[in-house]
């Protein structure tokens, strides 16, 4: 971890001035901790045994001396994003609040894929560390030098560029025939091509019945089209499983509105209905983005000072370890497979028993490599390696 946060710079130039915050059981916060090296960090950690650690910014003076300086202020910090499923409560049909299930989890891989794409392709960022938050969300640490050096204005600019959902549940996408910014097109294309999205549509039951699809159709600004679709939807009532009904209706929308889908069908010789009228040309995009575009907590990203939970912390409620995830394979990520503290303890015990080493120091390092944590550590190490090579 220390290697990551040092970014290859001399300790006194950088890691010395990084703030860590220790949080304890009763929500007691110990801020402005700073360390000169790994050893100090580890010692302090084992001594105070905090519940969790937050990582803050790099300041212009060592945080532990912050009271001595009147001009103490944050200088650099990774650009971070936090996505939490509670922000989706308004469109979640399966759970709400602290609860989460495999159905609503789907929003997370969708969010990761979209943001990962936009951050890399639009902004050119290269070093993104995606970390499972431990319960129902995901964090992203953008560690490129440019990102770290952004001031609050810059962070706000990036966050706003990436925000599409405003207020309670409004989409900033023109529903009429306005040309859409490349970012909106890319976001839509990314989402609609994901399996997770189609599964989401079906599992959330958005096209299950008229009361469910009516609010969605309201997004369509052309009344005639709306009526037509309504009729088409109602006409579908085979006695297949419900999933199929929703799927068929979803397909109807795609056939009508999605250009790429239509192009594909046309190539294979299918006959299509005429394209939608200009007034509702962007209807499907508005719907897809409103219901699946990542809902960022802008406040987390805007403040250079904002403390964010460190990777590899254990989540107090679930016992899950906040592990890094691979955005390319996130669709295969299963919460049930995430290392949990109780499982780890058992695993560790097993490893200890079966080893014969006397050098305690080495043992510690080796141990975790033999637990389920290993895979994630490797992910992390790969990330750090890439960073250092740049």
């Amino acid at each position: 971890m220390f290697e990551w946060l040092s970014y290859g710079l001399k300790p006194q130039d950088y890691i010395f001035r990084r703030e860590f915050a220790f949080i304890f059981e009763d929500d007691a916060y110990l801020r402005y901790q700073s360390f000169k090296n790994e050893h100090e960090f580890r010692t302090q950690l084992s001594k105070s045994q905090p519940f969790k650690i937050d990582i803050g910014a790099v300041f212009n003076h060592e945080p532990r001396d912050h009271k001595k300086f009147t001009d103490f202020r944050a200088q650099e910090r990774e650009l971070v994003f936090d996505i939490d499923l509670t922000d989706y409560d308004i469109i979640r049909n399966c759970c709400e609040g602290a609860n989460m299930c495999s159905k609503c989890w789907r929003w997370i891989p969708i969010a990761v894929k979209v943001l990962d794409f936009l951050l890399r392709e639009h902004f050119g960022f290269k070093h993104l560390l995606w970390v499972f938050s431990g319960r129902r969300g995901i964090h992203c640490w953008v560690s490129d030098e440019v990102a770290r050096k952004l001031n609050n204005e810059g962070r706000m600019a990036v966050a706003e560029y990436l925000s599409l959902i405003s207020g309670e549940n409004k989409i900033g996408v023109g529903r009429k025939n306005e040309p859409l910014h490349a970012m909106i097109e890319d976001a839509y294309d990314t989402i609609v091509s994901l399996d997770d999205f189609e599964k989401l549509v079906i599992e959330q039951g958005w096209f299950e019945n008229e009361s469910k699809w009516e609010p969605i159709l309201k997004i369509c600004d052309d009344l005639q089209t709306r009526d037509e679709i309504n009729a088409q939807f109602s006409a579908i009532n085979d006695d297949d499983a419900k999933g199929s009904l929703s799927l068929k209706r979803w397909r109807i929308l795609k056939r009508r509105f999605d250009e790429k889908f239509r192009a594909k069908l046309e190539k294979s010789g299918e006959k299509l209905l005429p394209p939608p009228v200009p007034e509702c040309k962007n209807f499907l995009k508005a719907f897809v983005l409103l219901y699946a575009y990542p809902r960022l907590d802008v406040n987390v990203s805007t403040g250079i000072n904002h403390l964010l939970k460190s990777p590899f912390c254990i989540h107090p409620s679930t016992g899950n370890v906040a592990v890094p995830v691979n955005p390319k394979t996130i669709e295969r990520f299963k919460i049930s497979d995430v290392p949990r503290v109780d499982k780890l303890v058992t695993e560790l015990k097993k490893v200890v028993k079966s080893s014969e080493d006397t050098d305690k120091e080495n043992r510690k390092i080796l141990y975790y490599k033999h637990t389920s944590l290993n895979h994630y550590i490797e992910l992390f190490e790969a990330f750090v390696k890439n960073l250092r090579e740049d």
Binding site: E121, H122, F123, G124, G154, A157, A182
Partner: protein, 506 residues
């Protein structure tokens, strides 16, 4: 940071500001003024007299406030650009930066005002905003020099080749505001790293790819504005720090303070009511719409930076009558008076009177502006005074000279002198109105009996609300004695409540 300032004064403050021969600003570094527009990255390295220091600061401040005024009138940038031509010649010269001398003045005056306005966050914010507006207007008016400017200041812009632009057509057109399939070919495009223009990122106005914004030539202004603003903000923060170190309490700080009072208070006291006459409007109005008696007083105020008691009353109340608020009036008089005295003195000895006019002191009754009868009949001016009615009180020769200087031809002037001789002062004033508003004789249809009436009628004529020959159908009025109005002049009121005659009237 600055070069040496020549201290041409003795110890007394007043001497700094008396009329002395100015020194022309010495020419040192030729190249820096080769280009019109500057980002003000480096302060000037010149020697400037204190008089010039003050005047350059004022000149620039004037320009900034005029632009601010135009901005209020023309909210869109386009309209603002179109109406720059309405600037008076002095301001326009500074605006257009056509010659080296002006550019030097521009450079120096910018830094003078930086010193003046760095002392509080609100002032700094206001100043940066005005300078930014000025900069943007100037930048947009650069025809071919924009690229040169960008190059000179190391803006990291890469020109986008025609090929690349075409290949990105399907991305650029929908993403970039103002770009259509029709005009894509005609616009030059540049790539710039997104950190140079957060505004463009935030509002998603432009295509972004791999961290690079693809901006059209129309967007260049956003990039330069961002840098301009940043430069100024950091610069002024630094200057604020430094100002604390240099010993300039006696010399520069009072001058700087005078500048900020003018500038800041104007902004602060811009009335909601669009009728408010603000100090910067007075000069213009004086030349077009003030009767001769008030022009006289105004002119004396500008020259002497002071007025004696009756002149202050006559003029101050007149200004109140044309719609100047208390705050503006205080600012206006303070601005002039503090050129000869310090602000404390003004506040102690003169501000009270002004507030009294507006009913904020003493009996809490607002005073009324004097009508012609009162001006003519009471408090005749002495030789050094400037109040009263010129047609009544001025020496005929002096009056004749005055009239001619104001553009009245000999014939008209002699007619007016004749009227004055016949005690027909109101007619004389009316004639003056008609001649200066290019109206036929008798065209006004009224006889002027109150200076504020003169003003109101003048505004009406100039704003087109009143025909120039409204009165021609009427008979020319016969000779009348000056009227005594029903409201008897309250001669008792003013002298008792506050009499500052005992205070030194230089």
């Amino acid at each position: 940071m600055f070069g040496d300032f020549q201290n041409k004064s003795s110890r007394r403050d007043n001497q700094f500001l008396t009329q002395k021969a100015r020194q022309s600003i010495s020419v040192k570094n030729q190249d820096i003024y080769e280009h019109k527009l500057s980002l003000y990255t480096d302060p000037p390295n010149e020697t400037v007299s204190l008089l010039d220091f003050r005047d350059l600061g004022s000149l620039r401040l004037d320009l900034l406030r005029k632009i601010e005024g135009l901005r209020e009138k023309y909210p869109t940038f386009k309209e603002l650009q179109e109406n720059i031509k309405t600037l008076d010649s002095g301001s326009a010269k500074l605006f257009h930066l056509l010659d080296e001398e002006t550019r030097k003045q521009d450079h120096i005056s910018h830094f003078i005002l930086r010193l003046a306005f760095c002392q509080s966050p609100e002032q700094t914010k206001w100043f940066i905003q005005q300078e930014l507006d000025l900069f943007k207007l100037r930048f947009e008016s650069l025809k071919h020099d924009k690229i040169e400017f960008l190059r000179r200041y190391n803006f990291n812009l890469t020109f986008v080749s025609e090929n690349e632009k075409e290949s990105l057509r399907s991305r650029l057109v929908p993403s970039n505001v103002g770009i259509s399939h029709g005009n894509l070919q005609t616009k030059a495009f540049f790539k710039v790293y997104f950190t140079e223009a957060f505004d463009l990122v935030r509002h998603r106005k432009v295509y972004l790819n791999r961290g690079y914004l693809y901006i059209s030539q129309d967007e260049l202004i956003a990039i330069v504005s961002a840098r301009f603003r940043l430069n100024m903000a950091t610069g002024m923060a630094r200057e604020f720090k430094h100002l604390g170190f240099i010993q300039e309490e006696e010399r520069l700080l009072p001058l700087l303070k005078a500048l900020t009072h003018r500038g800041y208070s104007n902004k602060e006291y811009k009335a909601q009511n669009s009728q408010d006459v603000t100090p910067d409007m007075v000069e213009g109005l004086a030349n077009t719409s003030f009767p001769l008696c008030m022009r006289q007083i105004h002119s004396r105020l500008r020259t002497d930076h002071h007025l004696r008691h009756f002149a202050r009353r006559q003029y101050g109340l007149f200004l109140k009558g044309i719609g100047m608020s208390l705050e503006s009036s205080l600012a206006f008089f303070r601005d002039e008076f503090t050129k000869q005295m310090d602000a404390d003195k003004f506040n102690k000895q003169y501000a009270y009177n002004i507030r009294h006019h507006y009913g904020k002191e003493g009996r809490q009754v607002e005073s009324q502006p004097f009508d012609c009868a009162k001006i003519i009949l009471t408090n005749p001016p002495a030789a050094q005074d400037c109040h009263g009615c010129p047609y009544r009180h001025s020496d005929p020769d002096v009056l004749a000279q005055k009239l001619e200087r104001l553009g009245i031809n000999k014939e008209q002037a002699s007619q007016m002198l004749q009227l004055s001789k016949n005690n027909q002062y109101d007619k004389a004033c009316t004639r003056f109105f008609e001649y200066t508003h290019r109206m036929p004789e008798g065209g006004l249809g009224h006889v002027i009996t109150h200076p504020n009436q003169y003003f109101d009628l003048s505004r009406q004529v100039l704003e087109g609300k009143r025909a120039k020959d409204a009165g021609c159908s009427q008979q020319v009025t016969v000779i009348k004695k000056p009227e005594t109005t029903s409201e008897q002049p309250e001669i008792n009121e003013e002298e008792d409540d506050f009499n500052d005659d005992t205070v030194m009237d230089i």
